[in-house]
Amino acid sequence: MRPAHRHVTPLRNDRVDAQTGIGSEIGNGDDVTVVARGLVKRYGDLVAVDGIDFQVRRGTCLGVLGPNGAGKTTTIEILEGLKTPDGGHVEVLGRSWSESRREIQERIGVQLQETEFQDKLTVLELLRMFRSFYREGSDIEEVVRTIGLLEKRRAQVKTLSGGQKQRLAVGCALLSRPEILFLDEPTSGLDPQARRRLWEVIETFKAGGGTVVLTSHHMEEAERLADDLIIIDHGRVIARGSPKAIIASLGAESVVQFSLAGADPRQLSDEELRTLQGVRSARYEGSEISLSVVRTQAAIAGLFKLIERRGLVLDDLHTHRPTLEDVFVSLTGKHLRDD
């Protein structure tokens, strides 16, 4: 969406490394749009952000994935200049917040997690107001079209659905014709269809060469939108890399989940399960057992034999390709989402 002289560097996915972090050299030139080094933020005794590092390359989407309370909002609000970190260093578009506040603000777009727009303003009125803050920016009509609110443009905010309100929030962020779009859980609370429509808006922005920083606790969203990902928990990065690389770091071909009819899953010991052929690790989740599996066919065959030998009955069995959720569970022992 920016003029062409701010050229887009081709992605270099091979540079992504699940162990050593996203990009090794610090931003020189136009390639890196956001640099965060050693960010720390404390609220009293609570360390909400505890030494986070990353970089965002121009034209890519960085996903910040983590459960509620992980420190996502705190991190992104530091990048947006709303919060001052207690430690560490932030550079946005090669500039620091303390020296070039207005200049950065002119060139970014922000959607906050909790903004409530005035119910009685119309879509156009709201967009026109936000547009007036920027020296250069997008055409309002064009933004209305991008966010798919053409028919609703004269409707008051109170008549919009949850998904439409969120798209409007993103629309307000697009009015500056931003080089970087910061989105804090843009689709939380939306139904799958509304979520997909918002993803399309974000993808349109990216297709125009825009850079995106996105927080989410929704793994499908992160997998679909993010080129690079950091997974955070308790204010620390626990995994980083491309979604593919992070999933691959689990070293599993698939995940096998099953339960036993009328029996405690712990009748099968961890030892027994882990030593099955093709199984890497096992974990108990309520009435279910979840196996991380390297060779699916061999593992299932072995599992059937074990269950039969022990005189137990298999209740429910399914397998799926490993997801980010599985990585998160294997790293922290808990799920990203409670629901």
């Binding site: 709303l82 922000v110 906050l112 303003l121 009125e125 803050f133 500056s176």
Partner: protein
């Protein structure tokens, strides 16, 4: 260029939001009219009402009724039952209760001015009837010219009260509301200048001020017949100064609160003393002399004093130096403090 545009858009949004709030329109434009009309009507002829007296049936009532009949300031009701008449007296539905006899007996509440008046009138009627005498000669001059009625005194007070109320509520609520919605926080990640934000509140306030003054003043002038002795320019300047001062006070009161309840409480705390003590409904000179200097420092006192001087006494703004300086001082002070302590997040 962007600057003007952003001020215009922010102001437009404030004005639009105001006009989409029916309650706000009621409180700003309709309520003060109703209040002025009702109070003006209620106090239309205070003090010239005839006294209402209850007379209980009994021996010698005829003599009493004849004596009272000649006095047009006595409004007589006859009761069969003493208890019934006494209940009326207790509820102050009548000002005095008279029982025939020798001498007749009069029951009244000496703490009520109306009752004391009724007593004197009854006494006089009986005296005149007894010796058949006439009143001592006295030239009477009824004063009914405009400018000295209660409503003439009240109207500038209501105008001042309205400037205070709409300024403070309008701005205080709007600021608390954008903060509660985290909308203020959203504005903070744009290059919007903070001064434009404040300016938009003041400018939108001036739009309403214009409408408010035109509507209220027309009503006062043409419906209530309130005088406008002074010049329009002085009147406008004082209204403007008052509106901006209370806009500043509204911003100050809302500068840190996060909830609508919080801002309501604080608003009432700030406005209540001025409603009572700044001379809206009665002159603050009824309070002890010792606190007059303090009352005169309140911004509403200054505003109402200046409005009365201009509207009733026909003075000009130049004769209102202390009042204008007081308002300007409050204005500067509140803005400085508000900007200093304002909570943006």
């Amino acid at each position: 260029m962007t600057r003007l545009n952003e001020i215009r858009e922010l102001t437009r949004v404030r004005v639009v939001l105001f006009f989409r709030e029916p309650e706000a329109i009621f409180w700003v434009f309709i309520f003060p009219l109703v209040l002025a009309a009702v109070l003006g009507f209620a106090f239309r002829s205070a003090g010239v009402e005839p006294s209402k007296v209850a007379v209980v049936q009994g021996e010698g009532i005829q003599r009493l009724l004849e004596a009272f009949q000649r006095d047009e300031d006595l409004d007589v009701e006859v009761y069969e039952d003493r208890q019934e008449a006494f209940d009326k007296l207790r509820k102050a539905a009548v000002d005095a209760l008279i029982e025939p006899g020798d001498p007749p007996r009069l029951a009244f509440d000496p703490d009520r001015a109306e009752a004391a008046t009724a007593r004197l009138r009854v006494q006089r009627a009986l005296t005149l009837a007894m010796d058949g005498g006439v009143d001592a000669p006295l030239g009477l001059e009824p004063v009914t010219e405009t400018g000295s009625r209660y409503v003439d005194f009240l109207f500038p007070g209501l105008l001042g009260m309205n400037l205070m109320g709409t300024g403070m509520w309008g701005i205080g609520f709007a600021i608390a509301d954008v903060r509660r919605r985290k909308f203020l926080k959203r504005l903070m990640v744009t290059p919007m200048r903070r001064s434009s934000f404040f300016l938009s509140f003041i400018l939108s306030r001036l739009v309403f001020l214009f409408l408010e003054i035109v509507i209220l003043a027309s009503f006062g002038r043409w419906v209530l017949g309130v005088p406008f002795e002074g010049d329009l320019i002085s009147f406008s300047i004082v209204c403007l100064l008052g509106a901006i001062t209370f806009a500043g006070l509204g911003i100050l009161v809302a500068s840190r609160v996060r909830t609508i309840e919080g801002v309501s409480g604080l608003m009432n705390l700030v406005m209540m003393p001025m409603w009572l003590a700044s001379g809206v409904f009665f002159s603050y000179e009824r309070f002890p002399d010792a606190i007059h200097p303090v009352l005169r420092l309140l911004p509403l006192t200054g505003l109402i004093d200046a409005l009365r001087a201009i509207m009733i006494d026909g003075e000009s703004i130049w004769q209102q130096g202390p009042e204008s300086a007081l308002l300007a001082g409050w204005c500067v002070l509140t803005f400085l403090v508000a900007l200093k302590i304002f909570r943006w997040e």
